[in-house]
């Protein structure tokens, strides 16, 4: 049985941890003080790079590497904390904001010190009213205690934090969409390059970090890089010679929901499998696992064949899925995959910002196709293709074999791939919203094709038994890479 390893959430349940005094009792701000007293800013950036910390927001990009892209000679530069947690199935940040906001402030202070940043914006999801209230109170307290503002604790460091509520758009969780929204414009992502690290908020270099990423910083500083790298697996990227270490260090706040007995946020080491996670979350509710969504609704789905896939950044990438925000949704045998896809597609069609063509008009199209299939109006055709062989009369000729063509499934795959191609991982859109749409659409359809076909055939939603509904990995190229991990090997 895997145990939880609580680091970020360690003191989450302590009463009044949201107040400065209680937070202080539990080592609050000592890590920041240690950072200032013992390290130069460059040392901290080096430590973060060495720790292998990967951004917890979704893309899993190395935090230290991101910091290294920020030009040192352009000032001011900004820190943008992404607290616009809106991926369906993800709910870890809100607990930090509601219960332990001082931890986030401490993380921000360390980042600001390392990068020479004086202004931080926390873009907080508009629906987090309690989180915003707690955070604002904590910021106020930190100002009063001299941990924010001018000349913090006599060190000459100036840091200001502004919290800014969003207005409820999913796309404002995308970093450039967030920046546009923060600047008071319509929340639409920018075309990249330039990336925010070079040109972000108010056209200045900007570090955009997720709440969870920033909350990791105090512990990396407090306990050291060595302690941090012990947690989680490190792989070797054999494309490089010598192989480059590909670290998946630290813990992750997994938000487990769906058909489990004790859904909730669990802080666990990276690199556990779905089976282990379900066990931690009180076991499966129902007979058997039909599917697991590993990283929020935009991640490609995992079938029951893939339950042994380790849920870390590298392994899931090799499985052609992603860890994303760590929002894990478990589905049991009663769930209909067509219905699930329809639910997800309705969400994305509604949330597309409408800026670029493929997403604006492709996303509702995909939704309409899935809707049509779910309504029982999916198009199907039986065609006869000439096929030469030994025919019924025993003579060589056209055997007249028939083949069933599921026109709408082909259309669904084609339209989704035209927004963003999941096989080549290229998108025609401005931002990654495109791939967030086509990933579920294509992976659900490919991996659970029998269920889609049955739905079209029967003219109504049909839930097949798990074994029948799933395409075995050997038959589907969507899986292939998982079983031939050429590029990475266990270190």
């Amino acid at each position: 049985m895997v145990e939880e390893r609580r680091i970020l959430y360690e003191h989450l349940d302590v009463p009044d941890i949201n107040t400065f005094d209680v937070f202080r009792q539990y080592d609050g701000y000592t890590r920041f003080e240690k950072a200032i007293a013992e390290y130069q800013p460059e040392d901290i950036a080096k430590m973060v790079l060495d720790s292998g910390l990967k951004g917890r927001g979704g893309a899993g990009f190395s935090t230290g590497e991101k910091w290294s892209f920020v030009p040192k000679d352009i000032k001011p530069c900004y820190l943008c904390c992404n607290a616009d947690e809106s991926e369906p199935g993800t709910f870890s940040n809100r607990y930090v904001l509601e219960k332990n906001p001082h931890l986030l402030i401490e993380g921000i202070l360390i980042c600001c010190y390392a990068m020479g940043i004086e202004t931080t914006y926390i873009y907080i999801r508009g629906e987090f009213t309690l989180g915003k209230k707690m955070l604002d109170a904590a910021i106020k307290e930190a100002y009063e205690q001299g941990y924010l503002g001018k000349d913090i604790r006599g060190t000459g460091l100036n840091v200001d934090i502004y919290s800014h509520p969003g207005a409820g758009a999913y796309i404002c969780g995308e970093e450039t969409g967030l920046i546009e929204s923060l600047e008071g414009k319509r929340g639409q992502p920018r075309n990249k390059p330039p990336f925010p690290a070079v040109e972000g908020v108010f056209r200045k270099p900007t570090v955009v970090q997720n709440v969870e990423t920033l909350c990791n910083l105090p512990f990396i500083i407090g306990n050291g890089v060595e302690w941090y790298t012990q947690m989680g697996p490190t792989y070797a990227d054999t494309r490089f010679d010598p192989p480059k270490p590909d670290a998946n260090t630290g813990t992750k706040l997994y938000c487990i929901s769906g058909d489990v007995n004790e859904p909730g946020v669990y802080e666990l080491d990276l690199g556990l499998t779905s089976t282990e996670l379900i066990e931690v979350a009180g076991g499966l509710r129902g007979e058997e696992v039909k599917a697991v969504i590993p990283g929020g609704s935009s991640a490609p789905i995992l079938t029951h064949y893939e339950l042994d896939t380790r849920l870390d950044f590298t392994s899931l990438t090799l499985a052609k899925s992603m860890l994303g925000s760590g929002g894990i949704i478990v589905m049991n045998e009663t769930r209909n995959i067509v219905d699930c896809l329809l639910n997800i597609m309705k969400f994305y069609a509604h949330e597309s910002c409408g800026q670029c063509t493929p997403c604006r008009w492709g996303t509702p199209w995909v939704r309409d196709i899935v809707q049509r299939i779910a309504d029982g109006d999916g198009r199907k055709d039986t065609i006869t293709r000439p096929k030469f062989g030994v025919a019924e009369n025993g003579r060589w000729g056209d055997t007249g074999e028939t083949e069933e063509i599921y026109e709408d499934l082909d259309l669904l795959e084609s339209v989704a791939n035209n927004i963003a191609n999941v096989d080549t991982m290229t998108w025609n859109t401005i931002c990654v919203f495109g791939i967030a749409v086509s990933w579920p659409a294509v992976s659900y359809m490919r991996k659970f094709r029998p269920e889609f076909e049955a739905t079209i055939r029967e003219g109504k939603l049909v839930t097949l038994p798990v074994a029948e509904a799933t395409v075995p990995p050997e038959e589907n190229y969507a899986y292939q890479q998982r079983f031939v991990p050429k590029e990475f090997a266990d270190l």
Binding site: A169, R186, N191, R239, F240, A349, H350, E351, S352, C353, G354, Q355, C356, T357, P358, R360, W361, G362, T363, P364, W365, D368, I369, R372, L411, S414, V415, N418, I419, T424, M425, T426, W427, N428, T429, I430
Partner: protein
Amino acid sequence: MAFVKLNDLEIEVEDGTNIVEAARQHGIEVPHYCYHPGLTRPANCRMCLIETYGPIPGAPPGTIGPARQLATGCTTTVRTAPPDRKLDDKYDAIVQTDSPRVKKAREDVLEFLLVHHPLDCPVCDQAGECDLQDYSYRHGHDKSRYIEVKNVPPKKDLGPDVLLYSTRCVVCTRCIRFAEEVSGTGELGLVHRGSHDEIDIPRSHEGVPLQVLDNKLAGNVVDICPVGALISKDFLFKSRPWFMEKANSVCSGCSVGCNITVEYKVDGVYRLKPRFHEDINQHWMCDDGRLGYHYVNSDDRLQLPLKRVDDEFTPTHWADALAVITEKLSEVEAEDIVVIGSAQGTNEDNYVLQQFAHDVLKTTQLGLFGQLLGEEHKFPQFTIEADKNPNTAGARTILGSANGNVVLEGDTLWEKVSGAKVVYLVSGLPERPLEDAEKAALESVDFLIVQDILPSEITQLADVVLPGTTFAEKDGTFTNSTGWVQRIRKTIDPPGEARVDWEITQQLAKQLGGEMNYHFAGEIALAISENVAGYGDATHQKIGDAGIKLAE
């Protein structure tokens, strides 16, 4: 200069040029909707996707391959790379605009662009000059796979001259950016989200417009709209673009001298569209100029010479009208004659006029008549000047060239007029109200010859009215306020018996024994270039379509 490999071509382009422009300079089309050279580049239409090449990560140094993602041509600029970062040791950039991936991407994007499009080309004004049509034909599918219900957003009235057919809109946001950046008025914006995106003006909850698109540059949004979404009410259902002839000309609305294209048919001018000129109007023109051509097609145009018989105008023929004038002119002394040129007339008109005054009538009293001073409008990237005449600068110089650069204007002119016996006034101005002093001065003249295009307060006072021509009916040159000499071109024939202004003046000169024998405007321009200081290069051949700037 950056050395770029574009498809199979090796080309040199200036640093900072984007791929769309670089390709256009070398005859390669990169289709695009949202990109406009005069506006910022949001890269939202995704039509100009191209394949860029660069070093492959993880591969041995020197290996070059296509980047994983396609890039947008409008935002990808080329720059001279440092020697160690050249591709294939010599190129600053390698770009493919016709690789299979690029073609596939274009097809896909075009399919998306057309899913909600009503395909109402037969009743769409833009048909024939529509980017959606052209690109679909060249880069798209021949049929649609879309069987769902299409969005049908409402048709909207945005302002005095602009209609929005939302169904045809591809949400390229050119119009929004125009209103934001060039006119600076910001009336337009996007409402709703996702596939329900619509361009709109600010409205109350009941849908009542709070602001309308009525700035003086509003008409430009119709030009820059790549599809038939924004439509000019003025041109609505008037003509198919392919039925119209086009001529490069210059706007006669004010002294800016915007380059325009006059689109016309045999029965009149149909519309004016701006034409790019880097130093004068960039891509734009104002609505005063754009919609100010209607007088050309007016049914009221003067078509026959008129002479006053017993206080009534009687239509007559040219020979008769000129005979009356000749008789009158030969009776009076030179100092009793005032000749007034028009700031609306071309340099050629005014040159012949000053030659007539100087050589034939021997008078030194030359005046200049033009529109009253209007209002100046400044926009962030455009200015409409207060001087509403296209050729004040040119007329002033050319009329003055005969006379020691003394041209009578304003009060001094009207003083001279009130003391004169015969006044030959070339007007050619549409809608010119007379001020009291002007009217009094003209009334006091014994014999007033007016050469004009429309019946007006001025022609009411005349003894003889000669039908002249507008800018659309003659060749010639205008000099704008910043010293650019540019050509206008004849598009339609003058109505009835009306004649080109300089021809009338020349005929009059011949009748009075003058030696003038010009056959076409270019000949006069040659004479101007020889005789008028500063106009040395201003021959029609050298001016061409781009114009020339006079030395300061």
